[in-house]
Subunit: 358 residues, 4 copies
């Protein structure tokens, strides 16, 4: 297990689906920051299931409790532990899965690696693990606020349904929240919703892509060569459950371009060196250049589906598996605050690691 | 700077284009492994420029010297330092760039972050930095050999020219070496070579994609949640100069699939639980499942081009820049051993971190 | 802040005197270990104040709750979070100290470093911080049990009162628990108790020395050069509040010996290479040699005393300070389980880091 | 192996007695620091053997070469690799030891842990390993210079011969260099020299204590709870070969004092809160308080002696061993720059880790 992330702003997460609590310890948070549960709760609420007809109807309140590190509403510079209590600690619906590793889920690999697994299946591969990340990300955002850094993610595509053009310079979390699928292009959003509802009927699932933009990030962040800013973002994003890809700036499409077109020429604007295009996605040589950082994250379709699947038991016997209960046909809308959180964590840590001169 | 990578098998790289030596220290390598310079040199030779008409004709010999950690041809369990001496320590061709930050290069960001930069420009953003990685990767491969793990990368596309289907189960490094562009599909390779030669004439550049497969990786590797195997691979790949994207298994295309299609059903083969498809790319829940691991890495077109570009000086004066000397129009073929090396480092470290039971 | 300790068996502690909970997250604990609160509680109970007339009478129950990482009484290989709730979250007795930094306490340095401090004073410099360490140490001991490793600490001296000779080969925790001061030499223990009671009357305090022995530690543990076993033990011990010194084997006295006397000659016993003396304290070159590891830890007298002290306020005004409430005149007996815990953590981590051959 | 030390100012050392080179890579050094080999060489020269009749006459020049990270005399912010070439790469005198583990040396433990060892014996347990530390320490001192921080160590005792009182507030490295044994009390120094010469005749060895003071260290350094300043110093010192103990401030003697005497009262001097005594040794609660930091390090007598010792071979056969060649009867004088170097490394790293407020 490796449950710690960050170098100076360092988080350690814990918790499975059916233990007493899930949570996080944030070590290295500066002192003197105003902090209460109200600062943390909104992103947790965006993350939790049951927010709309689109997602699983389990109504988890997910109320955060700050255990340490804050007194009189101010951070002390000491570790900040935050937990969310699990309400359902006695797993019931999973008995069937005791003998059958769900295809493309982590049942088999956890069993292989640890020789044991949580009754709910993948244990820490559960989406519930991300609660600690989101709580810590909301705290990291408090640091970013001091720099005016804004991080906004949205659903760029669901299956084949792609969002139209979105203005990364102006999009806000409010824009994103205008619909259940968190796609700011309302027309595309409608199609996505219809598509997800169809899949729900079919007891099938589908993937999608989340795009994220980070604005007002100061130039100079990132620690080459192994903690280049894009490398840390890539690690952060691929550590989110169900992710299969990451691309920044021009990404895979950029591989087809010529250098003369792809290069971002410099120009002087308001006394600052800026670039007139941004194929770099705000990072050059692993270090932020002051332009908007934007990247895309690929999420596969959820593995747990109600539809019948042919597979085998741990012992190799042929079986037909159809997951009981209700499962998210598409996790991408709920992934939006998780992507934002991981981006916040990376950038907050890079700010605190940054020591340009003595 | 963050020049150390790995948890148990830990590498620290150093060196710029024009200092005395570039190299690496590998700490945590097990003792008793047969090792000599001959084990390291071949991958370094694949990496160096000047191997064909396609790449820059600077003839750098890049001979590796092992400084420590080996006696009588066996590793001692102590740190293994390896260096390659730079032959050209007095940079000449770069004077012009003292005042002009190259578009999409690291000149501007290094200057901003460190208040100084190497005369050759981006310093550690130079491709020469990867020598230490490749030397360490060749050493890591010696560990993988004990498990029969094979890692093979190849050029999947150059610009718009895409390789035809390649059998990931059987492809070898020998197949890849049959042509200068390192694409095992000879027809596509010919087109790629023609295209690169055209761009060379035009003093322009182009990007491409490298695909990599890791075979015989035992199930159980990867350390959730932040060092999931795909997260560590993503960090490793995005830390390579000029990379813009990473996708594993079904990747971005997989986001369009339904779960019922995307899921990899289990079957029992030769007493082992295997999967009949491999959209997961050999990893589930962040842990290897014993199937082939495969992923793709996007490389942007090189930023330094001979063609004229309009940009501004550090002071903001309009200038036209055309890089002197000869520069690689396409780095993707040379990136092949670098991708393999980083994959080797990640997997060797995960093997050594693995402690399933007491 | 640096609240994480260990490389593979990694603990992260949190909590101040007056927050909701103090606790620890243990990451990297192997799966399949039998674990319940009953395994953890005894050492916490030994640690807590109010156990005898000698220590502060605040009756803190300190009941541990396991939040995650355990199901059906077995560890899952996932992070194990454990907390102890604080009962007194509204500090009252400390108002006086708001303006006066206690001499030799951490009030001044925390205020200087963080620009804020917990109302109880030093925040994380409070002895209450050690609860997380002791809970984690009790878990580490479960790993050591599998190797038959025994760790026993005891009070070697209180002020000038020194224990007589103690047989490190046979002493048990039961021996140590025979009296309130945790010194197995009953006569010395009586003198220590009398002395501490005198000081209590005087509202003064005194320091002491804890000796610790680790038996049955396998040869080969320790990671030279910076994580030599004695270096990690030294860091661990000097991170305990109020410690001022560490010595291992012959220690400071050994500096006066000649090499011909100090050297531990080898002999062959039961087919094993052993040493006939043990001035090395079980470690040579930073690696355990299979002999008993023993070391001593110096604790200063507690800084908070009821006696009047002349000092100044934060503003520099002369004041006389006498701490209200009851304070431990001697923390050394309560330090015994803390020293054992830190030793357990170091050795468990070294076992899990150990990879002799592939 | 764990050959990396530090969090932001991070060093990685490498090299054995008889490999090509020993050295260090320093990652995280700020840019823009004036640096050349002349800044590094003096401490290396103080460290090397053969400086006086007291130490081993092997004349090792130990000339440092900077391989990377510096251009035009200024650090670039990139990793700085420094090496010293070994002149004697073909070990000869050690053949005898192939079969006999030297008592109290690391031959046995390295063989046990790694299944192999360098022909010179303990490999990385050799004093030659400290070259990298001293080179890095000299670089760290360049950072400390910007804060006016002075670090001076000296020999406090050799065997039973103890230095008289030394004024820690004023002592300089020049004072220390006035005699071969590096004890600023000339009378004691004469006795130490006589004693060491006697032991040399007897082919025996002796230990000693080094005291070190760090002046002008700003208040606020140290990262509780596990990287408290004294904990990091303890780890650093106990990682030096042949060390057996560490004490800071009042140390072991302080355990005998009462709190009312031991406490350091505050007073206001020149507008700053200072303490009128310094039993704390400049650290309270793990954080520097602005007073002088001073500590003592115990060194055992060297294990390799010319005198006859009875021991057994690896196979258990009784033998008499007398080491050939000339060996240091007392390493304490040469340890002085090593202690200073490790202290410099700890403090430089703590300065760079320090982020009081945003």
């Amino acid at each position: 297990m490796s449950s710690t992330f960050g170098t100076i702003f360092k988080i350690t997460t814990f918790g499975e689906s059916h233990c007493k609590s899930v949570g996080v310890v944030v070590d290295g948070c500066p002192s003197g920051i105003e902090l209460s549960e109200e600062d943390i709760q909104p992103q947790l609420t965006r993350r939790r299931p049951g927010q709309s007809a689109l997602s699983t109807p389990r109504d988890e309140k997910d109320s955060v409790i700050i255990l340490s590190g804050v007194e009189n509403g101010l951070t002390l510079g000491t570790p900040i532990a935050m937990i969310v209590n699990n309400r359902d600690q006695k797993p019931g619906d999973y008995s069937e899965m005791a003998d059958i590793p769900r295809p493309s889920h982590a049942d088999f690999t956890y069993q292989t690696k640890y020789g044991i697994r949580a009754s709910s299946g993948g244990g820490r591969s559960s989406a519930r693990e991300t609660i600690g990340r989101v709580a810590a990300g909301a705290l990291a955002q408090k640091i970013l606020d001091k720099y005016g850094i804004e991080i906004v993610a949205y659903v760029d595509s669901v299956g084949d349904v792609k969002s139209g053009s979105v203005d990364l310079k102006s999009i806000t979390r409010e824009n994103v929240e205008t619909n259940a699928v968190r796609c700011p292009d309302i027309k595309a959003a409608d199609k996505m919703i219809t598509y997800i509802e169809e899949l729900k009927e079919l007891k099938d699932s589908v993937g999608g892509v989340v795009t994220c933009v980070c604005r007002n990030v100061p130039a100079g962040l990132g620690e080459p060569v192994f903690d280049k800013l894009e490398a840390s973002l890539a690690q952060a994003m691929l550590s989110i459950p169900a992710t299969k890809g990451f691309e920044i700036g021009s990404g895979f499409e950029g591989t087809k371009m010529r250098g003369s077109i792809h290069n971002d020429p410099f120009l002087m604007t308001d006394g600052k060196l800026r670039t007139s295009s941004n194929n770099s996605g705000g990072i050059q040589g692993g270090i932020s250049n002051g332009e908007d950082i934007f990247f895309r994250v690929a999420f596969k379709p959820p593995a747990t589906i109600g539809m019948e699947q042919k597979t085998v038991t741990f012992k190799g016997e042929n079986v037909t598996l159809s997951a009981k209960g209700r499962h998210d046909p598409c996790v991408v809308p709920r992934a939006v605050p998780i992507v934002e959180s991981m981006a916040s964590l990376v950038i907050a840590d890079m700010i605190l690691r940054q020591k340009r001169f003595l």
